[in-house]
Symmetry: C2
Subunit: 176 residues, 2 copies
Amino acid sequence: MTMFHEGLLLRAYDLVAAFTDANAKLATAESCTGGLVAALITEVPGSSAVLDRGFVTYSNRAKADLLGVRDSALSQHGAVSELVARQMAEGALRSSTADVAVAITGIAGPGGGSLEKPVGLVHFASATSAATRHREMRFGDIGRSEIREASVSVALEMLMEGLADYTAGDDGDAAA
Amino acid sequence: MTMFHEGLLLRAYDLVAAFTDANAKLATAESCTGGLVAALITEVPGSSAVLDRGFVTYSNRAKADLLGVRDSALSQHGAVSELVARQMAEGALRSSTADVAVAITGIAGPGGGSLEKPVGLVHFASATSAATRHREMRFGDIGRSEIREASVSVALEMLMEGLADYTAGDDGDAAA
């Protein structure tokens, strides 16, 4: 028995196997998902071989302290922005022994939305020493839990793409 | 809909309300629960007012880097020990803006157990500027997910006890 849905859990097993095969480690930097990505991955036995650490940086200060997100990025672009997602992922990579880092920052609601940045807007980034990738999703106002769970799913995809960047030593920025 | 069981979720709502009422912030330092405690708390709308940050310190190096757990504690007592739980909680308090920190370190299995430290052994600590509390649980080999979920439940209790220490300015070591 697990509290995670079987589909997500199976994908987490695949991810742990892929990182184990590649002898690669990962780190997470989570805002709106609040630790769900790390929690899902660590549901898999043997995940200690691939998860180095996770950061739950809910406050802006935590993003700055732990991940080196710059105050100018937070004040000019906001915590939910492409730039902050990229800086979170790159900071998690720098502040860990991981080869691939993923970052998630979004508005899970029910409050906090605006016309420009509605509830359901989530920015993702993956970072390796070779490349940083970004993705923006607009899930709509489908509910706080649903936005968080959909974000976990995208984060797993980004980690697999980051692993591909890592194993290829490829330039993801050019490819993205 | 949420992936967390209703009983746990209701307790998380109560916890967020209690910390909000006390104008207190919390931080988490999770090993075997891998982010589940932070993930549960952030399922609650408005939790951003009380959760400053969370650390998922799965590797020993992460425990040392992020929380200041001492190498001597890890090598002499092991990652799953009272001393490391206490140092994790105190480190999370020091490395955050939180008033109350909770730490969880245990053996969720299926591997990693021994006669002295069997699967299901989990050490918990809560820390405030006034007091550090410790609790040891032996859940038995009930399954990885079940051990993690039972640990989340105890962590919520420890956070509430830590909040009581914080609001009383009390000495929990003497009371524990």
